[in-house]
């Protein structure tokens, strides 16, 4: 940053090397009280405040959010994302380090904005507007737009305590973006709105981004981060694990964090006579390395390890793939494949998909080994393995399958 940085007016900085939010060596400590009895009487009897343990929710976090960019924060539950965002919003005070935010900031934190439950939507809009530094006149000018965007004109004079959680978030979001912030902090709110509202939000985000505003976004929706953000950071246990472009970061994140998911996975059922069983299912990427994460359009192999405890004549292996909604995406078997007369001992069978047709999402594999006539089941396992598919080519496919094909413009 040059020394002229400070003179560049907000809003006209797109493309410059300016930093909108600078987080330097920030640490935040919470107190975990041993007893929740907060009374003066108890304190006097005890001779001091309740004992507590220190819990460091953020440890020496440093990062920079370039002005005019959309920045994603990812990490598992409890990793400190919301805490970091609240520190940026000045709601929490870090115990060490500094945070600089340039320009007007507006924040929409988890579970809605700071509304007063007894007041009507209208009164809350004015109250919140004045908290964000707008004058009555300025809010008057934006009021229609705010209500319009939230789609709540019928309920605007109802106390917000009677709103549904979606309505609450809509109004909060609408206020937060319509006050013209330079920096918008958003924590996990898009998840609450319905599909229509989510689309409106995405459009609004794009609009804000195009007009040079900075957005910091916390989301568990990895695809949201992947498509909307230009940069992302990954928090783990309060420590900044990595930062960089979303695509690379998310791949790394998913690889690391999904290992324990498979280890703890269960919930499927299993039956069969057991002469031959599937011992393990592996997903291999194009280079033949085991993975739990492939992209649409990439080459992938499902490797089924088996163990035949005796000689089994012409076994047929079949597998099915369901998405998490339970939609049966596909089911195939090896009946017509070229196969040996019989198998015995350990070995594996590969199923090679030259171009993974599944769209982004998580999938469960069900596997079965039956006899030639499908009369006898040796082994049947539902939800034997779970794997993920990330956006690839085509990146905007919808549904369960990306149909294979070519576009031709004449």
């Amino acid at each position: 940053m040059t020394s002229f940085g400070a003179v560049v007016p907000a809003g006209s900085r797109k493309g410059s090397e300016d930093i909108a939010v600078r987080v330097e060596n920030v640490s935040k400590r919470f107190r975990l009280y041993h007893e929740r009895n907060q009374s003066l009487k108890a304190a006097m009897l005890r001779g001091g405040r309740a004992k507590y343990d220190n819990f460091w929710a953020l440890k020496d976090v440093s990062l920079e959010v370039p002005a005019g960019s959309t920045f994603g924060l990812i990490g598992q539950n409890g990793s400190g994302k919301s805490t970091l965002l609240k520190c940026m919003a000045r709601i929490l005070r870090p115990d060490a380090g500094t945070i600089d935010v340039r320009g007007k900031m507006s924040a929409l934190l988890e579970l809605g904005a700071g509304f007063h439950p007894e007041l009507s939507g209208r009164e809350n809009v004015y109250l919140n507007g004045s908290i964000l530094g707008l004058s009555r006149k300025q809010i008057d000018g934006k009021f229609e737009e705010i209500v319009e965007f939230a789609g709540l004109s019928k309920f605007i004079d109802t106390p917000v305590k009677n709103y549904s959680s979606g309505m609450y978030v809509r109004l909060g979001f609408s206020v937060a973006i319509n006050v013209d912030p330079d920096v918008l902090l958003v924590d996990e709110v898009l998840a609450v709105g319905d599909e229509n509202f989510q689309r409106k939000c995405s459009e609004k985000f794009a609009e804000l981004r195009d007009s040079g505003k900075t957005i910091v976004l916390v989301s568990h929706g990895l695809d949201t981060v992947r498509t909307m953000c230009e940069k992302a950071a990954w928090l783990e246990g309060g420590v900044l694990k990595d930062a960089g472009t979303p695509a690379a970061l998310i791949d790394k994140y998913v690889e690391t964090t999904h290992v324990d998911r498979v280890a703890t996975q269960g919930g499927g059922s299993r039956w069969g006579s057991g002469e031959i069983v599937v011992t393990k299912i592996e997903l291999l990427d194009g280079d033949g390395n085991p993975t739990l994460w492939v992209h649409t359009g990439d080459s992938a192999t499902l490797r089924f390890h088996y163990l035949a405890r005796e000689k089994v004549k012409r076994p047929v292996l079949g597998f099915g793939i369901h998405n998490l909604d339970g939609v049966h995406a596909t089911g195939v078997n090896s009946r017509e494949a070229v196969a040996p007369e019989s198998v015995e001992g350990a070995g594996y069978i590969d199923f090679v998909a030259p171009r993974m047709p599944l769209t982004a999402g998580s999938y469960d594999v069900t596997v079965a080994i039956v006899d030639e006539n499908n009369l006898h089941t040796f082994d049947f396992q539902t939800k034997a393995m779970r794997f993920d598919v990330g956006r690839g080519t085509p990146s905007e496919a919808e549904g369960v399958f990306a149909i294979d094909g070519l576009w031709k413009f004449e």
Binding site: R49, I91, E118, G133
Partner: protein, 284 residues
């Protein structure tokens, strides 16, 4: 002073919050503003009954021979109620607005200031009505009202100072308000409101003790009186009485000490608030 600057920048918000408090207070009942008069009037009636008829205490004599215990009482009681309401309101302000404090940033002092200012509005209305009654009774209070207003400003700073300190303490120790409620009861009796200052000075402190040397007794009396007057509300109350009941300028100590004490209290309150404020959002 950064506090003043920050609060000044948020005056729009302050206005909104005061309005919200007032609307909450007066919208609920159909009687609206009239309701706020009924409470002090009922108190005045009760005390008058107890003191004038049960104890047969004589009414203090004011300007032009004005003799009315209820008027004397209200002149002191209304500003004391302002103090009590302001302190109680401040103590609840942070907890009641936890949702705001945890979700948006703004100078949190505003919540306490708004709370106290909303009670100021009530006091001004009540004092306005009282002044009309005094005028009808022949007490020409108008030339003394500017000084009364200045005293109310000073008392407001006093209440804000106490409110700031107690509001954060109440977040850390939720039972502070119970102790304060008891303390406020005692405070009322330690202030010349339901009795007159001269009655207290002449009859309570200066009770002749048989067999004691008079000089010692005089010293004792002076010392206790000073201690009594450390309570800034004594000076405030004496001044309000002098200005509105007796239509004369207050004794200068009754003016200077409350004002000095108000600024001191405000300074302490701001410091306590600033000290405990950083952890507010997570403790709430």
């Amino acid at each position: 002073m950064t506090v003043v600057a920050e609060v000044a920048r948020s005056r729009e918000l302050l206005g909104n919050l005061v309005q919200r408090e007032l609307r909450g207070k007066y919208k609920r009942s159909t009687l609206g503003w009239a309701w706020s008069m009924i409470n002090p009037l009922a108190l005045a009636l009760m005390y008058t009954f107890v003191f004038s008829f049960v104890f047969r205490a004589g009414s203090p004599v004011g300007a032009h021979g004005l003799k009315s215990f209820p008027l004397y009482l209200l002149i002191g009681l209304l500003p004391f109620n302002f103090l009590a309401n302001g302190i109680n309101g401040s103590m609840g302000a942070l907890v009641a607005n936890a949702n705001l404090v945890k979700k948006v940033y703004f100078p949190r002092e505003i919540l306490i200031i708004a709370q106290v200012l909303s009670w100021d509005v009530s006091l001004l209305i009540e004092y306005g009505v009282l002044s009309v009654v005094l005028l009808v009774m022949g007490n020409l209070v108008i030339p003394f009202l500017p000084l009364v207003l200045l005293l109310i400003v000073a008392e407001t700073l006093f209440v804000i100072g106490i409110g700031l300190a107690l509001s954060v303490l109440n977040v850390y120790f939720r039972d502070v308000q119970h102790f304060v409620a008891i303390f406020l009861q005692l405070w009322l009796y330690a202030t010349p409101i339901i009795y007159t200052y001269s009655f207290f000075r002449d009859h309570v402190l200066a009770v002749p003790v048989p067999g004691k040397v008079p000089t010692h007794h005089v010293w004792n009396h002076e010392w206790l009186l000073w201690l009594y007057k450390v309570n800034p509300m004594v000076g405030f109350s004496n001044s309000y009485h002098a200005l509105m009941y007796n239509l004369r300028f207050p004794v200068w100590t009754d003016l200077v000490w409350p004002v000095v004490a108000s600024f001191l209290t405000l300074a302490v309150g701001v410091r306590v608030f600033r000290k405990l404020e950083p952890r507010l959002a997570e403790e709430l």
